[in-house]
């Protein structure tokens, strides 16, 4: 029993709990907080997996920007308790069980996948700085085109958001 395993289980429990909370909470803002919790836990898991850069990006972009946006919108629209309507029969009876079925399937298959046999060494063992440097190398050489493409995507997204949210005058 060592720290990494303890950390892993702690984060795993946190994230799962957060996900459950996301589902069960009736206030959208509670769901949002739950999701932020999940993201934090996942970020720590990234650290454990020796990907500090990704962890930081996860927090900055996801927790720091995207989720803030969500919270902001929730506040803006003053979204109250969600009403639990059940207009769709299949969603009412089939939805949740199907979801869990899918969960079991994927979990089972992933668990038995040969990739899983490897051992994830903790953060300490890997040279983060070097990894980050290599990551940037890949990002700006090997994956340059996708990178630029994403930048254009972002630009278009900004424009789209502006056009959508613009007040009709």
């Amino acid at each position: 029993m060592n720290i990494a395993i303890i950390m892993f289980f702690a984060c795993a429990l946190l994230s799962v709990a957060g996900a459950m909370l996301l589902i069960l909470a009736r206030e959208p803002i509670h769901s949002a907080l739950a999701l932020i919790l999940v993201m934090m836990a996942v970020a720590v898991l990234y650290l454990l997996l020796g990907a500090p850069f990704i962890a930081a990006v996860q927090i900055i972009v996801y927790a720091g920007a995207i989720m803030v946006l969500f919270v902001f919108v929730i506040m803006l629209l003053n979204a109250g308790v969600e009403e639990r309507t059940d207009f769709s029969r299949i969603a009412k009876f089939g939805g949740v069980p199907l979801g869990f079925l899918l969960l079991l399937e994927i979990a089972h298959s992933l668990y038995h996948s040969p990739v899983g046999k490897a051992i994830a060494n903790g953060a300490g063992s890997s040279n983060d700085a070097a990894d980050t440097a290599k990551l940037s190398e890949m990002l700006f050489r090997q994956y340059l085109f996708p990178f630029e493409a994403t930048s254009i995507l972002i630009l278009i997204a900004i424009l789209g958001a502006l056009v959508l949210a613009r007040k009709e005058s």
Binding site: E105, I106, H108, S109
Partner: protein, 658 residues
Amino acid sequence: MPLLNHLWIVLALPLAGAAINGLFGKRWAQSAVNSVAVGSVVLSFLAAAETVREFCHLAANQIPFIGNYFTWMVGGEATPHPFRVDFALQVDQLTVVMLLVVTFVGMLIHIYSTGYMAQEGGYYRFFSYLNLFMFFMLTLVMAANLIVMFVGWEGVGLCSYLLIGFWFLKKSAADAGKKAFIVTRIGDFGFTVGILLVFATFGTVAFSEIFSQVAEKPVNILTTICLLLFAGAIGKSAQLPLYVWLPDAMEGPTPVSALIHAATMVTAGVYMVARMSPLFSRAPIAMLVVAIVGAVTAFYSATIGLVQTDIKKVLAYSTVSQLGYMFLACGVGAYTAGIFHLMTHAFFKGLLFLAAGSVIHAMGGEQDMTKMGGLREKIPATYWTMFIATLAIAGIPGFAGFFSKDAILEAAKDGPYANLWLWLLGVVGAGLTSFYMFRLVFLTFFGKPRYDEHKVHVHESPKKMTIPLMVLAFLSIFGGWFAAPKLVGGIDYFEKFLAPVFSASAPTSDAITAAATDTTASPAMDLLHALTGWPVIVGILGLLVAWWFYVKSPDIPKRMAQSVRGLYTLLFNKYYVDEIYAALIVRPLLWISTNVLWHVVDEGLVDGTVNATATIARDSGGQARKIQSGNTRSYAAWVILGAVGFTALLFGLLGVAN
């Protein structure tokens, strides 16, 4: 040979004119439209002339000169006789004649039209159609194979339809257009089948190849082919029994009547028969049929012409009967004479129509001769030109008509296929022709004015209308003099020129020349003999009778009409042919179409099927629609269901995981 190698230019010019006017003319001033339309035709005429000049320098073995531009369609290369059609044009003597006639007369009529149509709406449309017609007509006469010829054939039909129905707001005009198109269709059906049979028989549609192997084909097949083709000619050239469309076609503008329904298009049938003469010459029965149809038509429509009062109707029936003469000529093997008459007829009949148009123009749209009279002094140019044309058509010696008609009747009398009865019909017809033509002239120009002079202000037409009249008048006089030397024992230059074309039917031309030359008498005797021939006599007779009836004592016609009322009404109503057709063909057809095809087949079968399909689609869609509830959650549920299934498939059955 700059132009001979680019025959297509002759066609392309009018087509370009049509395209330009049709596309852009709407917004243009009349002058612009004129310059395009007339310009293109004039250029086309010049090109044609140049072509002919170059043609005359060709050696005999180069004739017919064929310009092959591109392969239009090819089918069944595998078979021994692949169906292969080239867009090919050809020039031989026959083509040359037609080419000159069409482009020249066409040019004159274009010029005339610029004056005649000046006040009409749709000016650009008219000239665009007219140019298009020129294009198709030239295609027809220059075609090197039956298919291209057929294109021109149908194209001129189309243009005739468009131009007859030019004033499409007038119901009678629109109907006339349709009538012309449909009636001609009947003949064209035969023509099409004939072309197919030609291909089936000869394995090709190119004239030269057909003629080269005409000899070894059985006669009865050739006869069938010829009869089928002749059916097409009947339709196009308004012979019995399909002539009914031509009189109605007078609904169109007069220049159109002149160009299409007198000078060029209606003669296409004759041209086609002449073009296929090698086949016809091998099929005596077909020849006989052609001759009979021609002669009977000539006589028959002449009789109708006797009593018509509409100036253009008279000319229409006379056209029919003149076409009859041409077919008679072909039928008796005198193709040259037929083509000769075709040419002269183009001159004087075109002139007649244009002059009639000028008269109508002067009378402010009045077409009924009984409401005219005494126009002689008021519109002298029109009067004189028209009088010349009348002399020409009446076959008065010295005028163009005389030579050609004389040649025809002579061939009918003592050609190789000579037939007395046909000759008789021809002669009587000639007399009648002379009579009703002079009747027309006298009614129109002589006697007391029968119109209200305060209402109608008769005025001579503008220069651009009268000048073409004069040119044509000149031709109506001298256009036939190619044949003049023959009368004095010389040779007929026209015939000599055309001889190579009809060499396939050599015996004919030989016979004619023989008939012309073996008269042992002296040239003077020949001349006398020709001048005192029956045609001349009856022609002058007709003149005199007409003068007596309509100038000397104008009350005789009425009394005659009283005495032989039955015959008169019969003629006046054109033998009730339209009514008979209506009763025998049109009404049953309508009845069947309405009660069987429409109510049973269309509504029951077709609509039923369509509606059934629609209903099935709609109902199944209505069922499927229920899934598309628009509720995102159910969509999500469906997606998950699919994902579950797919993952199960992937990992479970295919065992991708391990």
